[in-house]
């Protein structure tokens, strides 16, 4: 059995989604690892921006929070958050935003606010932070989440960050551009049907079956006619992830699938 973890596979798949020259709004964990991997592999011209205001970061260690001092030292620019949101995000300079959450639904809407009722929460989650504006204003959005009936219900309890809302042209009708283009889970990769805007399974990870995925999602999932297997990370990618990006295995704990 191949020597890589599911998270490493997700990181490598997410990295492949980034083009050289992309300006990327980075979050902590898998997104941060993916962006740093792409930066070292095929996208040296990629520009990392953190919502904390650090631009063009070259972190000398794995950042623990989006405001880690290692993001500032040696960066190309540090700007007020007012500029991050007005001049970078709203102005349209951000090519790719990474988002996660507690729930992602059939149309790519994300919930990171509350499980249950907003006023009487079962579980109160952190809330939007910058997620809502990234979902609304970045050109492309890549989502990472666990594949389960709990985390991928047909409809999220609360739309924190708008995807395609009810599907079809609902998002465009509200004047929103962009939108999610890819969802990467621990079992497979989804894109969005250009017409219905519904999630479509386009690749499954090695060892996973379509049945397994159907058991772990909240609706009858659409499957692409040209369904493929997600390419596993190459040895160089694994080396970079383990030796350079997360040597202490802070985010990518287990080394066995």
């Amino acid at each position: 059995m191949a020597d890589y973890t599911t998270q490493e596979l997700m990181v490598s798949r997410a990295a492949k989604e980034l083009k050289n020259g992309d300006v990327v709004f980075v979050g902590i964990g898998v997104p941060s690892l993916a962006v740093n991997l792409a930066h070292r592999m095929h996208a040296p011209g990629l520009c990392m921006i953190y919502e904390s205001g650090a631009v063009g970061c070259v972190p000398k260690r794995l950042p623990i929070s989006i405001g880690d001092p290692c993001l500032v030292t040696g960066s190309l620019a540090v700007v007020p958050m007012l500029d991050v949101f007005n001049l970078y995000l709203q102005r349209g300079l951000i090519d790719v935003g990474f988002l996660g959450g507690a729930q992602v639904d059939r149309f790519g809407n994300i919930n990171s606010t509350v499980i249950g009722d907003y006023r009487k929460p079962k579980v109160r989650l952190p809330g939007s932070g910058g997620a809502c504006e990234i979902a609304a204003l970045a050109k492309r959005v890549v989502i990472t989440i666990g594949n389960s009936k709990r985390t991928m219900p047909e409809r999220v309890d609360f739309i924190t960050s708008p995807g395609y809302l009810g599907g079809g042209r609902e998002r465009e009708a509200l004047g929103l551009k962009g939108g999610p283009e890819l969802v990467i889970t621990d079992m497979g990769v989804y894109r969005f049907d250009p017409r219905t805007r519904e999630l479509v399974l386009v690749s499954i990870h090695p060892g996973i079956t379509v049945e397994k995925i159907q058991e772990n999602i909240g609706w009858k999932v659409k499957v692409a006619s040209d369904l493929t297997e997600t390419p596993p990370p190459g040895p160089e990618e694994i080396r970079i992830i383990r030796q350079e990006l997360d040597p202490q295995g802070i985010f990518l704990k287990s080394k066995a699938v």
């Binding site: 623990i64 929070s65 405001g67 001092p69 007012l82 995000l89 709203q90 606010t113 504006e133 809302l165």
Partner: protein, 301 residues
């Protein structure tokens, strides 16, 4: 005119029960020492506003100082949930906590509107989010130049804003480098501003690099010398973020007893930040920053 005073005096004089209080600093320069003094003086019924409540507000909430929270992301960065915040919201312990929720962009614009003496500022954000159903203050404004409608947020004008900085002179001219967060906007929006600093310097130091000044004396009410005053958050060029403490807080804060024990030892158990720092001298040394100086620039003519 010197505005230098002790933390005790600054909090006693400028923070009153029931005030709208802001302690800002986005992961960087969080004024923990000031937060602890607010707890020590048992201030009550505060409305506290901050983008990320972080541990400093989790402690204020758990200590029963706050009746309302205005925020945009309530988590323990890189670790998990804020248990004090969740207990208050989910179980009303130690007292019910009213919440008013925005997004980061929304909070930044609220401070900027307040700082600019404007009733509101517009944004292209917000279409499609359910936040609109629960926050009636995110409203629509029509552009006088087209049929476009945009959402907007109302100004936020705190009674007092507290920020921590690398250095200030005695008059309150304050300089910051590294992450700026929203301290400038929150301070200009505020009726009173308390600045706590690692170092009080001669004005000549400030004047040697005027582009670094974040706050000018006219907006500052008090200057407090509070070295290590941002721990467990960090100060660029002074000390690193105490990530272990953020992880430990996840355990400490899981029940009210744990929080109380922490407050008894580290807040009520010490008279001030100097004593707190002495009590963790070894840790402080571990966190001390390496030197990585910037290339100086010429201001001559």
């Amino acid at each position: 005119m010197s505005k230098v005073m002790t933390m005790k005096d600054a909090i006693a004089r400028f923070v009153r029960d029931g005030d709208l209080v802001v302690l800002e600093g986005f992961t960087h320069l969080i004024p923990f020492a000031a937060g602890h003094e607010i707890i020590r003086q048992r201030k009550r019924d505060l409305t506290i506003a901050r983008l990320t409540p972080d541990l400093v507000y989790d402690q204020l909430i758990a200590a029963g100082c706050a009746r309302k929270l205005i925020f945009s992301w309530a988590g323990n960065p890189g670790v998990g949930p804020l248990h004090g915040f969740r207990r208050a919201v989910e179980q009303g312990k130690p007292r019910p906590l009213e919440i008013e929720e925005y997004t980061h962009f929304g909070m930044v614009l609220r401070f900027m509107a307040g700082a600019s003496n404007l009733p509101f500022l517009p944004t292209r954000n917000y279409p499609g989010t359910d936040l609109l159903r629960y926050n009636p203050d995110i409203r629509k404004v029509k552009s006088p130049y087209s049929d476009e409608e945009l959402y907007c947020v109302p100004a936020l004008n705190p009674d007092v804003t507290i920020v921590h900085a690398q250095r200030a002179d005695a008059d309150g001219n304050t300089q910051v480098w590294g992450l700026y967060g929203v301290q400038k906007e929150a301070s200009f929006a505020s009726r009173k501003v308390i600045v706590t600093v690692e170092e009080i310097v001669e004005s000549s130091v400030i004047r040697s690099d005027p582009n670094r000044t974040l706050l000018p004396a006219p907006v500052v009410s008090a200057v407090v010398h509070a070295p290590f005053g941002a721990h467990p958050s960090f100060v660029q060029g002074a000390y690193d973020r105490d990530n272990d403490f953020y992880v430990k807080w996840d355990t400490v804060s899981r029940d009210e007893a744990g929080v109380q024990a922490y407050l008894d030892e580290w807040v009520h158990g010490v008279p001030d930040r100097a004593a707190y720092t002495k009590k963790m001298e070894a840790r402080r040394r571990e966190l001390e920053a390496d030197r990585q100086m910037c290339a100086p620039v010429n201001y001559g003519f």
